[in-house]
């Protein structure tokens, strides 16, 4: 089960956008650290843009933040330390993936809750209906429909 969860989480990571506005002079000399910087950049919001990560954005602020992230990484911070540092400075607003907290509980639990509730409701419905049996008859035709039906029937080609 744990492995499957990991698998699903990893599968989601695939879908991370690979789009960049990184400038040539920002790139770190250590490729492993640069990869970490890029991963972190995708999770951080450019606060003056509309819903862009600092990795995508051309804004000067995004560049400052990218450099700041690289500075922290160069100073030996772990990924979560870098994120903590930025949240302390700019608030939760800077995170594109909200943390799992009291305020975001509903947001994160929505999908599983809905799936479970929906599935349960469907299951109960099917059980109830299979117990109640029999098809409900279709509603009877209105007088207008009766006349229309009669007309259509009389229009039926008499030869083939």
């Amino acid at each position: 089960m744990r492995r499957m969860m990991l698998a699903i989480v990893a599968l989601m990571l695939l879908a991370l956008p690979a789009a960049h506005a990184v400038q040539p002079d920002e790139i770190m000399s250590d490729p492993a650290k640069e990869v970490r910087a890029r991963e972190l950049s995708r999770e951080l919001r450019c606060m003056v843009c509309q819903n862009q990560s600092i990795d995508d954005s051309d804004a000067p602020l995004a560049r400052d933040l990218r450099l700041l992230v690289r500075e922290r990484i160069a100073a030996g911070d772990s990924n979560s330390q870098v994120l903590d540092f930025l949240v302390a400075r700019y608030g939760e607003f800077v995170l594109l993936k909200p943390r799992f907290e009291r305020q975001t509980l509903l947001l994160w639990l929505l999908a599983p809750l809905l799936l479970i509730c929906g599935g349960l409701a469907l299951w109960l419905q099917i059980r109830r209906r299979s117990r109640n049996g029999a098809d409900v008859p279709v509603p009877p035709l209105t007088p207008e429909e009766e006349t229309r039906l009669a007309r259509l029937m009389s229009e039926e080609p008499r030869s083939s």
Partner: protein
């Protein structure tokens, strides 16, 4: 004069819509055919007047009449003719006018081709359409009049935002609106059914073609918007989970669910209540999308608060229509009887699962979009919800959905045989596994799960093909017989095959692009060579050129592979003088379904320029998939069975020829 005529035509359209809102309903009450038929005339007349109003605005833009505020703010006399026309809907007022024009078009279509609808149903449907139309005409006339004059007309206009001066964005909004607004028809049908208290399988048969049409346009509109963002915004991203994109994705998800549940209702007379609810929700989400995009609430809650007239007006429309329709639904839904029993494992069951997953996915997007707004307004807590959130929540739901997709069309109605279907899908499953193994062995780097996702995509495509093979008996019967059967197969069955295969195609494109995208970011001087994914790109030089309303700097790249010259790529950077802004025109080189992508950054004093070069493997599949899906939709729409309201030449001929 043209502006005043356009304005007046819109006022007349409002008057017609008000008549159409009330008179047909009175007619339906009194069983008066003449009063009910008023709706037909008013709907056609509305189309005429709104059309005239829209053409008036287009004419003003083409003539560059800067005495009209809307033209002054969004046009420029030097702008190419195409963008003068498309600039009409590149701004708030004009795009709302396009919105109502399309609404009137759909109303007119129902009026013109709805001859075989029961008279009172048509009267109800058109009346509901008129309620929506009245609300939006009022909105335009009161808060967003595109025909306002300026007392002292300026000599030159302020030009259209340069990123909007592009063919992709010329076509994208009309497509999207045809989708958004098209769902108003199924909404009106749902409300009409609730008001009349009658709903049956025939209802679903009437609604499905309209829903399908809206869905096709929305699919193409979203795909086109995504491709536009990909080549125009200059960093090669194609989906950003931006609230504006989400606003179009939500009706698409709900609309896709609606298409499938209407199928159950049409074939098996089941899921009636749910289908009605989905019709209401789909259009409600379209309205919500219009509100989110048009009120500016997304850009900033504070901007919304400082100029709230428009936002509050649309919010009011939103509350009245969504609240009203849901209340009506709550009051009447219980009177709608459920029919058509089915076992959990059946075609119906599979379609219910499809609906469950699509609805939950839609709810996730809705929550992700609105949650930060709600938290800021209610709890003063500023937070963001971006791509990483959706990748973790939306993607698993779609993975489940895709696993289930091949099973659905192969299960029998009422009671299916899951084991049997699994056996029949064995070949497709094996194909998926083989591809997983091959991809695993051949590629390096990227997530270990990329091959699995590609295998899933192959499974979906192979599943669609298996369905086709079984229906035609391709492997069992002689080829000629199979061909005959393929020709005789209902178009809607072909539609299913294409639409489902399109999902798999898009998935493969998405996975390949995100996993094996290679990039090269550097500052290059003329005659420098970049090596990207086996290609050599040599920067030949930089040139300046003057366009109609911009200056551009062009870089010329000579692209070669193994010493053999393939092509010349010319990315450029345009500066628009009037707005003082610039755009990046990326250069694309298509090789099969893969693309090389070059976009330019800033040049420095020494004549070097920052460039970003990407190689995006199989990236075009991302858009070929939706195009296949839309093609499937069109096939299904052309199915004889669904051509409700189309002229019936066969019957006309019968009348002319005397019976023997």
């Amino acid at each position: 004069m043209i502006a005043e005529s356009g304005h007046y035509a819109l006022v007349l359209a409002l008057a017609l819509a008000l008549i159409q809102s009330i008179v047909p309903l009175i007619g339906a009450r009194l069983h008066d055919a003449a009063l009910m038929n008023v709706a037909r005339s008013t709907a056609l007349a509305q189309l005429l007047f709104v059309g005239a109003s829209f053409i008036a605005l287009v004419t003003l833009h083409v003539n560059s009449d800067f005495s009209v505020a809307n033209v002054y703010e969004n046009s420029h006399s030097m702008k190419p003719l195409l963008y003068k026309i498309t600039g009409v809907w590149g701004n708030h007022e004009g795009s709302m006018l396009l919105w109502v024009a399309i609404l009137a078009l759909f109303g007119g279509l129902v009026a013109a081709f709805g001859n075989n609808l029961p008279l009172s149903l048509r009267a109800h449907v058109l009346a509901v359409q008129a309620w929506i139309a009245s609300a939006f005409y009022l909105f335009i006339l009161v808060t967003s009049n595109p025909f306002l004059r300026i007392a002292n007309p300026p000599i030159e206009g302020r030009d259209l935002n340069p990123v909007l001066q592009d063919i992709g964005l010329a076509v994208h909004p009309p497509m999207l609106y045809l989708g958004y607004v098209g769902f108003s028809i199924s909404f009106s049908f749902a409300i009409a059914a609730l008001m009349e208290g009658r709903i049956d399988a025939a209802w679903a048969r009437w609604v499905r073609p309209w829903t399908l049409m809206a869905w096709i346009f929305l699919t193409l509109g979203i795909a086109m918007g995504s491709y536009w963002a990909y080549y125009e915004l200059g960093w090669g991203g194609w989906w950003f989970w931006d609230p504006v994109e989400n606003a179009s994705l939500m009706p698409w998800l709900a609309g896709t669910a609606l298409l499938h549940s209407a199928l159950v209702m049409e074939k098996r007379n089941a899921l009636k209540v749910w289908t009605i609810l989905l019709s209401i929700l789909t259009f409600s989400l379209s309205l919500l999308g219009t509100f989110l995009v048009r009120s500016g609430v997304i850009t900033s809650v504070h901007a919304f608060a400082t100029d709230p007239t428009r936002g509050v007006f649309i919010l009011l429309i939103l509350c009245v229509f969504i609240g009203g329709s849901l209340s009506l639904f709550a009051a009447r839904a219980t009177s709608l009887k459920q029919g058509g029993l089915f076992a959990p494992i059946s075609r119906e069951g599979a379609l219910v699962l499809n609906n469950l997953l699509l609805t939950v996915a839609c709810a996730v997007v809705l929550f992700g979009t609105l949650y930060p707004l709600a938290m800021e307004v209610l709890a003063d807590y500023k937070m963001s919800v971006g791509a990483p959130f959706y990748n973790l929540t939306f993607a698993p739901l779609f993975t489940l959905l895709l696993i289930a997709v091949p099973f659905g069309p192969m299960l029998a109605w009422k009671r299916g045989d899951l084991l049997g279907v699994t056996q029949r899908l064995l070949a497709a499953g094996v194909a998926g596994l083989v591809v997983i193994a091959i991809v695993w062995a051949w590629t390096r780097g990227g997530s270990a799960l990329a091959p699995l996702a590609i295998g899933l995509g192959v499974f979906v495509i192979a599943g669609a093909v298996t369905d086709l093979v079984e229906r035609t008996g391709l492997l069992r019967l002689p080829f000629a017989t199979a061909l005959h059967r393929a020709r005789g197969m209902p178009r809607s069955a072909w539609g299913t095959v294409f639409a489902h295969a399109g999902l798999g195609v898009a998935l493969i494109g998405i996975v390949c692009e995100t996993t094996w995208n290679s990039e090269y970011i550097a500052t290059m001087k003329p005659s420098d060579v970049a090596h990207v994914a086996g290609y050599d790109l040599k920067l030949d030089g930089l040139f300046q050129r003057q366009g109609p309303n911009y200056r551009e700097m062009i870089a010329e790249f000579n692209v070669s592979r193994d010493g053999e010259t393939l092509s010349v790529m010319t990315p450029s950077k345009r500066s628009f003088t009037t707005r003082g802004s610039s755009t990046t025109e990326a250069a694309l080189l298509t090789r099969g379904a893969s693309q090389l992508y070059i976009s330019l950054g800033d040049a420095n004093a020494e004549g070097a320029i920052a460039v970003r070069i990407y190689h995006k493997p199989l990236v075009l599949l991302i858009w070929w998939g939706p195009v296949m899906m839309a093609f499937g939709g069109m096939l299904s729409l052309s199915d004889r069975r669904l051509r409700v309201g189309a002229p019936k030449p066969a019957r006309a001929r019968q009348r002319l020829q005397p019976a023997e």
